[in-house]
Amino acid sequence: MLVDKHPFLRVATHVCLVVGILFLMLPIYFAFVASTHSLRDLLTAPIPFLPGKMLFHNYYTVLVKGAPKLGVNPVDRMLLNSFIMAMFIAVGKIVVSILSAFAIVYFRFPFRKLCFWMIFATLMLPVQVRIVPTFQIAASLDLLNTYTGLSLPLIASATATFLFRQCFLTLPDELCDAARIDGAGPMRFFWNVVLPLSKINIASLFVIMFIYGWNQYLWPLVATTSSKMSTIVLSMQKLATAADQIPQWNYIMAIAILALLVPLLVVLVMQRWFVKGLVDSEK
């Protein structure tokens, strides 16, 4: 590490960082401030700069009580829906990817290459470009308004399959030889050797995929019609774009804060795995 001897440059670096970060944090900070005031406080310009006294009231309203007259329904159910969807997507992606990577690296079978290229091709078919036909197929399979419907069409993962494949290719051949000499079958080898060695990759992928799942927007928007199956991001959007009234900014922001709190905490707590997963899976 090169250390510069210019004290001025060092101070300037810190100043730039602090100012830049303050600027970047502005949207999140004002969202939090807005979620602690009454709507009336927010409608008098300029909006307050410091948190108010309505924190408990606002969050209690959006989470438990609701405000039916203003179109605010309690979002506890939506938080749970988001959580279930994110878990299904993250776990599902990891399970299908690790199994197919294991098959592709450790087995010789016809169409092995074809399977690999088919998985690769999913990289070029994000849900946004196949949204209308995927919706029609999910509808014809009776999957709308179900957790399966929310998660299954997003579960294939080329990046996760590549990462596991890459990881398996670096494992020494002797491991497999030894396992076979000891009489272990393929699944025993997978369970006792490959899986424990993939722990770190699983953890990093889980963080990335959980956030990906939690933050899904377009697919839940078309795949759910009942508000019971809605996600937290979706219910925030519905309240924010309701056309016939003044936006209930205090409640909208309380829901927005709830919706961003979970992925934010996941990133902060599991930061090392998150950065590793992000950098590794793109290589």
Binding site: P133, Y217, V233, P263
Partner: protein, 293 residues
């Protein structure tokens, strides 16, 4: 690649790839083929008439000023987002790489926007720029600038651009920081001994060495701007005012779900698939080269 030491139980291998293959075929290939097929048909909204029309949907798209406009908007939007996020990410990465005190705190804060869903980011920035109560319009008004992104096309486009950039800066920051850490220090130290100051070292050594990662990030940022910004647009402008923020992906959704024009929407999906194929191929060709290099 296959391991030298491998198994030959075919049925088990098929069972292992089966789950991913099922999802891939049912929810990726089938919809893609359906879009491809539908793009050659015209259907009325009630689904009664279904005519094979060859390439008419495509021809009509490229004769429609609406579609050409959305191509243009997508181009401007993705270019602006790409440039802003590259500069922002590099700026913060270079600074964070230089500090020793408080490094982890800076890093944690700089990656936070990545965790925020695009739709949430949209509503957060919309609150700051709301013409009635937003803090920025309030300040802008004081210096005599009238702000209302609901009626001004360029203001709306500007707003969705900075929101998308705000989110994606974190991603660029992470990748730039990781590659700054992996630069060979001996070269930088040699330059330093030769009397090159920090700025000179950055422009003559660090920056050129970052060009592979920059190229990679250009592609990633373009893919992001094309495909992952739907939520931002939906929450902030719904493609308006006067289609000023209607990107190609947003138009697929609008024409398909709101306009019920499946033929045209499918043709647009096919065009988007071509775009993503081209970007992915460029990205992977480049990575192949990097491995040999």
């Amino acid at each position: 690649m296959l391991k030298r030491s491998h198994f030959k139980v075919k049925t088990l291998a098929y069972l292992l790839v089966l789950p991913q293959m099922l999802v891939t075929v049912v929810f990726f290939f089938w919809p893609a083929l359906k879009a491809f097929y539908e793009s050659f048909f015209i259907e009325d909204p009630f689904g009664i008439h279904h005519h094979f029309v060859w390439f008419r949907n495509f021809v009509e798209l490229f004769h429609s000023s609406d579609y050409l406009h959305s191509l243009f908007i997508t181009f401007v939007f993705s270019l602006a987002v790409t440039v802003l996020t590259l500069f922002g990410g590099l700026f913060f990465a270079v600074l964070a790489d230089r500090v020793t005190k408080g490094r982890t705190v800076y890093q944690s804060l700089l990656i936070l926007p990545y965790a925020v869903a695009p739709a949430i980011a949209g509503v957060l920035v919309r609150f700051l720029f709301d013409p009635a109560i937003g803090i920025f319009p309030y300040w802008l008004d004081k210096i005599g600038y009238h702000w209302n992104y609901n009626t001004h096309a360029s203001q709306a486009l500007f707003l969705v651009i900075i929101t998308a950039a705000w989110q994606q800066i974190s991603y660029n920051f992470i990748f730039y920081l990781a590659s700054l850490k992996s630069l060979p220090h001996s070269v930088l130290e040699a330059a330093s001994l030769d009397g090159a100051g920090p700025f000179r070292r950055f422009f003559t050594i660090t920056f050129p060495m970052l060009s592979p990662i920059t190229f990679f990030l250009v592609i990633i940022n373009m893919l992001y701007a094309f495909f992952d910004t739907f939520g931002i647009i939906q929450v902030m402008t719904q493609g308006g005012p006067a289609n000023a923020t209607q990107t190609m992906v947003y138009k697929v959704y609008q024409d398909g779900f709101l306009g019920l024009d499946f033929g045209s929407s499918s043709a647009q999906s096919v065009i988007l698939m071509l775009v993503i194929v081209v970007l992915t191929v460029i990205q992977f060709r480049y990575i192949e080269k990097k491995v040999h290099y």
